[in-house]
Amino acid sequence: MNQEVSFYEVKKYKTGILNWILSTDHKRIGLLYLYSILAFFIVGVCLGLAMKLELIAPGKTIMEAQTYNAVFTFHGIIMIFLIIIPGLPAVFGNFLLPIMIGAKDVAFPKLNLLSWWIYVLGAVVALMSQFMGDGPPDTGWTFYAPYSFKTSTTMLPAIIGAFILGFSSILTGLNFIVTIHRMRAPGMTWLKMPLFPWSLYATGWIQLLSTPIVGITLLMVVAERTMNIGFFDPALGGDPVLYQHLFWIYSHPAVYIMILPAMGTISEIIPTFSQKTIFGYKAVVASTLLIAFVGYFVWGHHMYTAGMSDTAVWLFSLMTFLVAIPSAVKVFNWIATMYKGSINLKVPLYWALGFLFLFMVGGLTGLVLGAVATDVQVHDTAFVVAHFHFVMFGGVGTAFFGAMHYWFPKMYGKMYDESWAKVGFYTFIVGFLLLYMPMFWLGMYGMPRRYYDYLEQFHGGNIISSFGALVLVAGLAIIIINLVTSARKGKKAEKDPWHGKTLEWQVDSPPTLENFDTIPVVEKGPYEY
């Protein structure tokens, strides 16, 4: 095979699309995920915008209550199961993990392609719920029992879709763990591995060890709906609170499936744009593993008001607070990395700084929810929604855009347009703050989540929030259009436009089919400047 041309030029089939959907090349699979996720993201954003427009005034504005219920459910299913859970690992993990550890591909390339196909299957099944039977699901993305088996809406495809998507996630995690164990380049010991692969490693374990729990829980709900087995139905002896336990045993660690790779991305961007080695490499690694581990024992913080023993409540609260320690270790390390570095203020670093700020707000408001007394006040209010969007959208979302700009030259061999990217960034941040900041206040004063209507006293905050949504969408449009046009018409990128030190900056932009002509031998740590 010709080693000179980029992987885009290597074609096995005559029909263009087959070269993508049948390819076992990790880079093509990463891009397949990117395009699928982008498509779903646009749908999810439109649904979010529709909700915000509904809330611009009290009472019915643009949709009925039932439609609103369906919209927030579908928004949640798309954003959680189709976008942020696969998110960074499936896109950037696939594209970059093998390159960053000096390998030609992942350990199981065919399984990798299968994961994408399972993802597509799960997505199609989940989408079917919108067009079948007695209307789209209206339970929220959490599928809480007993409502999820009492409602007459089309639940089964949504639940089975989520189950199938879990499979895809497990297989990706499995593939990455084996890849990291078996395929690191000679000389790349565990402690010479870059931090993004480290975060994928910890994420892989969470994907493996927590996804099956939600898988079986969803199957139990399916059995409940189809065979009348009363696992969670009090009338048949079951306990709905058990559903919540089982659901959050997965779904809390799942937020670390989302946030750990985001943190890994930030740990790559900051040293590169500070031209300085990461401060406390080992502490960052340890905090990654610690977050993954402690994250298993905090699920109860979603259920303070659901009926648990007081002992369980304070234990879960304590464990939740403990997660703040490794998270803060990371934040301090990132800031210390920038200290006295030669800062190269480019767009990826903008996003990393945006991440730091928004994630910090999200993290600190998380403590308001982790503390029992304050949680009882703000439970199930707009405050929770604001917190969640700060960590997920403000955290994972900004990291995703950071990664997108950071690795854009590597993926497309082109440079994005710097000034438009900055415009996009500022519009995004302004829109984001306008959208979600008021929701903290609204929640504090008692505006419940998941209602299409509200009291007059909440009108002002909601107007600001809805206006922010429009700004935010404009920002997203600028970012996406800029990236798409740059991918086609941008300036040609060099191998190493940011003077990064990790292995992906030593291969061509875009890389050749097998990434490396000869597998490199690693002698130094990943960030030695």
Binding site: F108, I213, D239
Partner: protein
């Protein structure tokens, strides 16, 4: 020390890596059943009497026979791996055939066992079951769900073994490259060990 061979991706064969992958997959399977074992534990704790009574209705004899069948089949598949390592293809095939036969026998027993319960009107959602206490409803719900899911794993396991068997016939799985057989063996042991837990939980807690 540039001595790394540049094999093409499709020729990539990593015995240790494949086995590691299988072990990881087995962890997920264990946790899948783990969710059910938690559910079982909670409801057994809440309904000790009803679980005791309902368990007496299950046929310990059939359960015990099925346990023995699975244990033997685990032994035969292990033997097939050793046979293949020693390049004794004939013995490998015989051992795999026995394993698959035993698996099918297990399913046949299961079929009759379930059939007997269903003919007595005990199955999820049946009128007869709905007249029983809540603990008993839960017990039978768990019984059908967990043994059903386990039976599904038996079917997947047999299919897996059948695929490996055909690859042995084509010499694609052989004395040098036997990791696929080893992995099917690992999977089969998983199916076996899950049953080892299901058997006492449903049949022996009287």
């Amino acid at each position: 020390m540039e001595k790394v061979t540049t094999t093409h991706e499709h020729d990539h064969y990593d015995h240790e890596g494949s086995k590691l992958g299988m072990w990881l997959f087995i962890f997920t399977e264990l946790l899948l059943f783990g969710g059910l074992f938690i559910t079982y534990a909670v409801y057994k704790y809440l309904n000790p009497e009803a679980f005791h009574m309902a368990a007496e209705e299950l046929n310990v004899g059939v359960g015990a026979i099925n346990t023995v069948i699975l244990l033997i089949s685990s032994a035969t598949i292990a033997m097939s791996i050793t046979a293949l390592q020693q390049n004794n293809i004939r013995l490998t095939k015989v051992m795999l055939e026995i394993t698959m036969m035993l698996a099918i026998t297990f399913l046949i027993n299961k079929y009759f066992e379930w059939g007997a319960k269903i003919s007595h009107g005990i199955y999820p959602g049946s009128d007869h079951l709905m007249e029983m206490s809540r603990g008993e409803i839960l017990f039978y719900g768990l019984y059908f769900f967990m043994t059903g899911l386990h039976a599904l794993h038996i079917i997947v396991g047999v299919a897996f073994i059948a695929v490996v068997y055909s690859k042995i016939l084509k010499r694609k799985v052989n004395a040098e490259r036997y990791v696929l057989l080893e992995n099917s063996g690992l999977y089969w042991h998983l199916v076996d060990i899950v049953w080892i837990f299901l058997f006492p939980l449903f049949y022996l807690i009287t």
